[in-house]
């Protein structure tokens, strides 16, 4: 890199600067962060060894970074020599730009940390140049495995391919095969094999317990044997995917495994072979058979990680299923579930043969002996539970009784009673009822709610967002304009641009038959008034901290742009609080307020607060919408989780109160809708909002786009 350029070039670009000259120029920009003990002499000395072009590159970026933050510029100057030795100039620039982006989105310390990871960055850049980054294909892979069926699986970066049965961990970059297409095939092979583990029963709960006792060697043998069994299953279920594995093996010159593996493969290829057979073999082979080298799409299994995830899920899903079944029974029988009748286990499962299912059968749910079509979320739960257990135990089918709600553990270290001290006086606050499903009636004037203002922050967030999403903003404007700009031909108008021939003929006919002739004889072009008022209710609970909060704020910026184009009336409120005595609604934009600089600064100033007591917020905003004149009224909630508050407002209690608040809103002619990023939302949202009135956004980074998109679909 620092090789001396040929004389001609040197003349063109100038002699390298001396250490003293560099130090003088660095001082200009870094003044603010330098002191007698911290000078620019060190970096200047090192930079003196580089070419003039490289020196100028560094000095240019120091100036740029210093405009943002002098400390960032200093760190860059110190690390630049190392970076120049690792990467070419384009690489160094990419590294700085990444740090700049980090600074924009997360601030100084993360940005400095990003700079310090110069080795890792250079490594990734090298691999990326030759191969394919996971982030480029994660979206496709997630959808692909989602389509294959079963429990949804996330895709995340890890070292070697493995899964905990909820996430597929795949290498961040693949460069094994020469081209992008080849590397994509390899990613896909990893994904389909890990999916097959989850779908075809490698990680069944009963097997897992035995596997963990058997030790690491047996576990590794088990994984290799399972790979053989799953290859055979793939050949039957997804022949195309199996062919791709074979093509990959040929391309990567994968050597066939020695005996006794082929013999085992034949046994495990039998249609009736199960994971239990693999386990028996692994136990028998431990200490006797050597482990073959893993295929490039396979990684070491992690039974411990699987066990942790599985245990938590079994408990969670058992609870969700029983709650769903209780709701289903109530809905189907049109009555509140009666604990005595529930004793009689109203739900049963009939096995139905289905050669496509991993076990060769699926289930049909029956209520009181009558087959019923379970709602989507129940079906999802049943599928997931069968994936874990191979069956649905009877106790899972007992609907949750009315008393069974989980109080949950109170967060430690804080006494909810503290918030009763001092700062509370209820004047000036709004009192709202709350629904207690256990008692079956409202707790009167139970919640104390205050409207507060979001403290406006002018830190360039809105401008940055608009800049970053420039393309998206433009396309949103176009789509929303199209929505607004639909000129409609209004027929039979008393006045207008053109004669309405149909109307004229009819009028003529009317006159001829002796009836009165109408004067509505014209066609007029007019924009259909969109008489819509929408209120956005934004989750400001503590759990939105970090990128969710960023995504929410970005979503609001884009949404406001879209709504301004459209001209619909809108308001935005944040909600949070702690305990019923301190429920808070944060004004971000009122209905009667224009989208002003102040509003933008408030969006930028949205910060995570405490908890999510949803019911009271919905009731208060319902009251607000009641006052607005509009043909269509919408209440859109942007949330990241279940209703949850400090003083027992969780589990069934919180859900039932929220549901009741939504029922009240609907009674007022308001359409509630929910956009959430909670992946478990399918367990409870249908119960709250009804089947078609919510959207789960799988990726936080898509939220900014999704919110506007959902709104468009909702109102066109």
């Amino acid at each position: 890199m620092a090789a001396v350029p040929p004389p001609a070039a040197r003349a063109l670009e100038g002699e390298p600067l001396s250490a003293a000259a560099i130090e003088a120029r660095l001082d200009e920009h870094l003044d603010l962060v330098l002191s007698s003990r911290r000078t620019a002499a060190g970096p200047a000395r090192e930079l003196a060894a580089f070419s003039r072009a490289e020196q100028e590159l560094v000095l240019r970026w120091v100036a740029v970074l210093a405009a943002a933050h002098a400390e960032l510029a200093y760190q860059f100057a110190s690390l630049a020599p190392r970076a120049l030795r690792l990467m070419d100039e384009a690489g160094v620039e990419a590294w700085v730009r990444q740090a700049m982006d980090t600074y924009d989105s997360a601030g100084l310390y993360p940005a400095v940390a990003a700079l310090r990871e110069v080795e890792a960055f250079a490594e990734r850049a090298r691999a990326r140049a030759a191969g394919l980054a996971l982030e480029e294909v994660a979206g496709v892979l997630e959808r692909y495995v989602r389509g294959l069926g079963g429990r949804p699986l996330k895709v995340e970066a890890g070292e070697a391919p493995w899964t905990d049965t909820e996430t597929l961990h795949l290498p961040p970059v693949l460069g094994v095969l020469g081209d992008r297409e080849g590397n994509f095939r390899l990613y896909k092979a990893m994904a389909v094999c890990l999916w097959a583990q989850c779908w075809f029963g490698t990680w069944r709960a009963p097997l897992l317990a035995r596997l963990r006792e058997a030790g690491a060697e047996a576990a590794a043998l088990y994984a290799a044997l399972e790979a053989l069994r799953l290859e055979a299953r793939l050949a039957r279920a997804l022949p195309g995917a199996r062919r791709e594995l074979d093509t990959l093996a040929a391309a990567l010159a994968v050597a066939p495994w020695p005996e006794p593996w082929p013999e085992a493969a034949r046994r495990l290829a039998a249609p009736e072979a199960t994971a239990a057979d693999s386990l028996e073999l692994a136990l028998a082979w431990a200490g006797r058979v050597a482990l073959p080298p893993p295929r490039p799409w396979e990684g070491p299994p992690r039974p411990e990680a699987v066990a942790a995830v599985l245990e938590a899920r079994l408990e969670r899903e058992r609870r969700s299923l029983r709650r769903e079944l209780a709701a289903l029974a109530e809905e189907q029988r049109g009555a509140v579930p009666d604990p005595v009748r529930l004793e009689a286990a109203p739900f049963t499962l009939e096995r139905i043969e289905d050669p496509a299912a991993p076990e060769g059968f699926t289930f049909r749910l029956e209520l009181d002996g009558q087959p019923i079509e379970p709602p989507e979320e129940v079906r999802g739960l049943l599928t997931s539970i069968v994936q874990d257990l191979g069956e649905i135990p009877e106790e899972y089918l007992v609907p949750a009784g009315p008393g069974e709600y989980d109080a949950g553990a109170q967060p430690a270290g804080r006494d909810p009673r503290d918030v009763w001290k001092g700062m509370y006086h209820e004047e000036g606050a709004h009192l709202h009822d709350e629904w207690d499903y256990r008692r079956g009636h409202y707790r009167k004037r139970w919640c104390v709610l205050r409207e507060l203002d979001v403290h406006p922050v002018r830190d360039g967030f809105v401008e940055r967002t608009l800049r970053r999403h420039r393309g998206l903003v433009a396309s949103l404007r176009r789509t929303f304009e199209a929505l607004r700009g639909e000129d409609r031909l209004l027929r039979r108008q008393p006045e207008g641009e053109e004669v309405d021939i149909d109307a004229l003929v009819e009028a003529y006919a009317d006159a001829a038959t002796g009836q009165e002739m109408t004067d509505r004889l014209f066609v007029r072009k007019r924009r259909e008034e969109r008489n819509i008022a929408v209120l956005f209710m934004v989750d400001m609970s503590g759990s939105t901290k970090g990128w969710i909060n960023d995504a929410e704020r970005e979503a609001l910026v884009l949404l406001c742009e879209s709504l301004e184009t459209l001209g619909d009336r809108y308001a935005i409120y944040g909600f949070s609080g702690m305990t019923r005595k301190r429920c808070e609604l944060y004004r971000i934009k009122r209905f009667d307020e224009p989208y002003s600089d102040e509003v933008r600064a408030r969006i930028s100033g949205i910060r995570p607060q405490d908890y999510t007591r949803m019911g009271v917020a919905i009731r208060h905003l319902t009251g607000m919408l009641r006052e607005v004149e509009a043909r269509t009224k919408l209440l859109v909630t942007l949330s990241d989780g279940k209703p949850d508050d400090f003083d027992g407002y969780r589990g069934t209690y919180g859900i039932e109160d929220t549901r009741m608040a939504l029922v009240e809103a609907r009674r007022e002619g308001i359409h509630p809708f929910c956009i959430t990023i909670d992946r478990e939302a399918r367990d409870y949202l249908p119960h709250l909002y009804g089947p078609a009135n919510y959207v789960v956004v799988d990726e936080v980074r898509k939220l900014p786009f999704k919110v506007s998109d959902v709104y468009r679909k909702l109102t066109s």
Binding site: R143, G149, K188, G240, V505, A509, A512, A692, D698
Partner: protein
């Protein structure tokens, strides 16, 4: 020309008779329920996603009950007089011309209003009196009420999957109808439908149905709807004409479902894994 479709004013009701049995595989008890509703002069609401066999079912029922079928695809410019009729002028004389709904009432046929929520709100004014026990069609322009004969049947369709709050069926409308819920058939049945409609090999039909289920798994995770039976039938037709399955799935299914490049890629990989 397809039976029961109004394309002009020239067909006469007797020509809307469905002569040969339209192929229809019952999914549940919908045939019996429809017949019972018809005998009791009750109107019927067909609910269900696009392409799941609602139109085909109506054709089949028209054939089975030997009644003419008149289908109207509703759109946002469709007014009450488009359904009822209007006066026209011919050679200086005014002539009344029945709309499709009036014609169906007169000949005791089946009138199928497809996607009723798309129509203008004023159409409900003429549907409501027809759909309750009065069973009359108000013909305001003529100052008449047209009484429906017992054989007349009103059927409407509605896709509850739409999320638009502006396109919801009003309670006062939906509560007048006997509702039949349609959904995509069970795998075995859907396979048979694809096979019978196209003559495709059973093995391929089965894979196509599997493919449809994969896309239906994606509903709500980036797709608004999974592949309908209709799309499967279309893909199967392409395959029968010699298009390789993966290409047929891309053209007839993936591209019809989405424009999102990541989603298209994922769906393509699904079919490539399956065939």
């Amino acid at each position: 020309m397809e039976p029961g479709i109004v394309t002009g004013q020239t067909l006469r009701p007797e020509e809307y008779f469905v002569e040969t049995e339209p192929y229809y595989e019952p999914v549940g008890d919908e045939i019996e329920v429809f017949e019972a509703a018809w005998r009791n002069q009750l109107p019927v609401l067909l609910k269900g996603p696009t392409g799941c066999g609602k139109t085909r079912f109506m054709e089949h029922m028209a054939w089975r009950l030997k009644r003419p079928l008149i289908t109207v695809s509703c759109h946002d410019d469709l007014t009450a007089s488009d359904l009822v009729g209007r006066f026209l002028v011919a050679g200086g004389e005014t002539v009344w011309v029945d709309g499709p709904l009036a014609r169906a009432v007169r000949c005791g046929g089946i009138c199928y209003l497809d996607e009723i929520v798309e129509a203008r709100k004023d159409t409900t004014v003429v549907i409501h009196p027809l759909a309750d026990d009065r069973r009359v069609l108000p013909m305001e322009k003529r100052g008449e009420l047209l009484k429906a004969p017992p054989e007349f049947c009103l059927a409407i369709s509605y896709n509850p999957g739409y999320q638009s709050v502006l396109k919801d069926l009003k309670q006062s409308t939906r509560q007048r109808f006997v509702a039949l819920e349609f959904d995509y058939p069970e795998p075995e049945l859907e396979r048979r439908i694809v096979e019978k409609e196209t003559g495709i090999e059973p093995e391929l039909a089965e894979r196509l149905v599997k493919f449809a289920h994969m896309t239906r798994n994606l509903k709500g995770s980036g797709l608004d709807e999974g592949a309908s039976t209709r799309l499967l039938v279309q893909a199967a037709k392409l395959i029968v004409s010699g298009i390789p399955p993966v290409a047929a799935c891309r053209a007839a299914v993936a591209q019809a479902l989405t424009d999102d490049p990541e989603m298209l890629a994922a769906i393509h990989e699904l079919s490539a894994s399956l065939f």
